[in-house]
């Protein structure tokens, strides 16, 4: 499950993949909403790793 933590690095550090204006969302060019979308995605991925490692039951 720890491999999930690598996904944000791939998604955000491979810059040419997302360096475009379109498709826009709510007026935001792709470059902006794509990166903003990685904020909740990263939090959820980290939470999945946290749950799967059994930390949810620790103090």
């Amino acid at each position: 499950m720890w491999v999930l933590l690598l996904l944000p690095f791939i998604g955000l550090l491979w810059v040419p993949f997302y360096n475009t204006a379109t498709p826009a969302l709510f007026g935001f060019p792709f470059f902006y909403w794509y990166q903003l979308a990685w904020v909740p995605i990263t939090a959820v991925l980290t939470w999945i790793v946290y749950r799967s490692a059994g930390h949810g039951d620790e103090p």
Binding site: L6, P16, N19, G27, Q35, T42, A43, Y50, H55
Partner: protein, 503 residues
């Protein structure tokens, strides 16, 4: 202090009200969250009793990592150059998987052995005074200009309120110094609640209200894009990156993320946590601030769309707020930024004071210092550190602080191998890590200096040019040199410490 003609009394009154509120809280904080423990102990003054739970840590680290300077400088960069200034977003996203993987281990090791600083951890793990001192001095050196930059953030809003002269800044800092002295880490932890809630309110109102006034986000981005189209091709600017900016963007984000939690102020928030799980939960919850930062960055484009003409890029946000908001809300926003400078400045001075006390004073001056003596040395050091930063801002050009803060990021990144590797494996020995640190620190500084103190350096590999963050280059050299030296040490059977603590 003289009063400028455009003094906004409403804004000023609101600002002073909130400043007075946090001052009272700061002095009252010494009694907050206090158990039965003896207050005259560095764990109490410098780490708040190591008892901060998930929410306190969330506010404290959020208030301390996303500094006032960030609120001023990130939109300023986005205003000036566009997409490249946005690297703060991927930086503050990928930082959290790094925190999640590393910091619970660091906390566990530190808590077990009573370590208060990163240099303590390194001394404990490797038993090397030399490596400890390298980490401690790097931390002190990197923190000082960072405190000075918080003053820059505060100066910008004081100016925006219409006040001139140095007196307001000196007064604000003197108050901060006094309550940090008396309440320690509890003061910024408590004030962080107010600061963060204020910043959230300001930003959420701004990102809803300003685009509404300017015709929506689409119109904001269009206007900013047109403004960039009018600009000369160098330095590159625009709503998306030029191909030449891909490597700078990615390496600045990654290098900054690796460096972020090596600073004394961010680590202080980690060490002060109640448990390893407090840190894990925060790695999941702190990205809420990153979302906020992304929206703050967009204020740069809103300023473009509003046709604001700031005197300097750093005046972008205050000028935008003064132009579009009524006086009372502008005052509230400026108070949020000014208080936003107090929290990190306090935690930075505490982190620096802890380093000096544990790794310089206790290690070299008075090894037999009592717990109460440690707390006293740290309190006085925190005063001196803040005084130094204030004098620096009053008497040295601001550009020096900016240059030194840039180098500070490069420097602090060089402590990463020494602090982190030992938490995961036993392979490295102290002399190898010390050599790697020296190569990264000196080599990186030299390259940055010869490049005219720019964060980016162009390397040629196989005939192709890559422009990358110099700090990341330096830490790669650091790791490679440490690994080679370590192979040599192990082959000759030297360099093992006698007193290393197990994980």
């Amino acid at each position: 202090m003289s009063v400028a003609a455009d003094l906004d009394w409403t804004a000023l009154s609101v600002c002073i009200f909130f400043f007075a509120l946090v001052t009272v809280m700061g002095f009252g904080a010494s009694r907050w969250q206090k158990g039965t423990a003896d207050h005259a102990h560095l764990d109490e003054w410098g780490l708040g009793g190591r008892n901060f739970g998930t929410w306190i840590t969330w506010f404290l680290v959020g208030g301390d990592f996303y500094t006032a300077y960030t609120v001023i400088a990130v939109p300023a960069q986005v205003f000036a150059i566009g997409a490249q200034g946005f690297f703060a977003l991927p930086y503050t996203i990928v930082v959290y998987p790094i925190v999640f993987a590393i910091m619970p281990r660091l906390w566990t090791f530190a808590q077990r052995h009573g370590h208060v600083t990163a240099a303590d951890v390194v001394y404990g793990r490797y038993g090397s005074r030399g490596l400890e001192l390298a980490v401690a001095l790097t931390g002190l050196l990197a923190t000082m200009p960072y405190i000075a930059l918080q003053l820059v953030g505060m100066e910008v809003v004081i100016k925006a309120l219409g006040l001139t002269g140095e007196l307001p800044l000196i007064a604000a800092f003197a108050i901060l110094a006094l309550y940090t002295y008396s309440a320690g880490l509890r003061a910024p932890a408590l004030i962080a609640f107010v600061k963060d809630i204020m910043i959230y309110i300001v930003v959420l109102v701004a990102v809803a209200f300003i685009p509404y006034k300017l015709g929506g986000y689409g119109a904001v981005f269009d206007a900013a894009g047109q403004a960039f189209a009018q600009k000369p091709p160098t330095p590159p600017s625009g709503l998306t990156l030029k191909a030449s900016q891909y490597w700078p963007y990615a390496t600045l984000a990654l290098g900054s993320a690796l460096a972020a939690f090596m600073y004394p102020h961010t680590l202080t928030g980690i060490f002060a946590s109640k448990s390893a799980n407090t840190i894990r939960k925060n790695a999941i919850l702190l990205p809420a601030y990153t979302l906020l930062l992304g929206l703050i960055a967009l204020l740069g484009y809103m300023a473009q769309a509003a046709g604001v003409k700031p005197a300097t890029p750093n005046d972008t946000v205050p000028t935008l707020f003064r132009t579009l908001f009524p006086g009372w809300f502008a005052g509230f926003a400026f108070a949020a930024v000014a208080i936003g400078a107090l929290v990190p400045a306090a935690v930075m001075s505490i982190g620096a004071a802890n380093l000096f006390t544990r790794n310089v004073w206790k290690a070299y001056v008075n090894p037999g210092v009592t717990h109460a003596g440690e707390a006293q040395v740290a309190k006085i050091t925190s005063l001196l550190v803040k005084l130094g930063a204030l004098l620096f801002i009053l008497f040295a050009p601001v550009q020096y602080a900016l240059d030194l803060q840039l180098l500070g990021g490069l420097w602090i990144l060089q402590t990463f191998p020494a602090v982190v590797f030992g938490l995961f494996f036993n392979w490295f020995r102290a002399p190898a890590l010390l050599l790697g640190w020296a190569v990264g620190f000196l080599g990186g500084s030299f390259i940055a200096y010869t490049d005219g103190l720019k964060p980016l350096h162009t390397v040629v590999i196989g005939g192709a040019n890559y422009t990358v963050y110099v700090g990341l280059l330096a830490v790669l050299a650091n790791i490679v040199v440490a690994a080679i030296a370590n192979v040599a040490l192990r082959a000759t059977g030297t360099g093992t410490a006698r007193t290393a603590q197990g994980l």
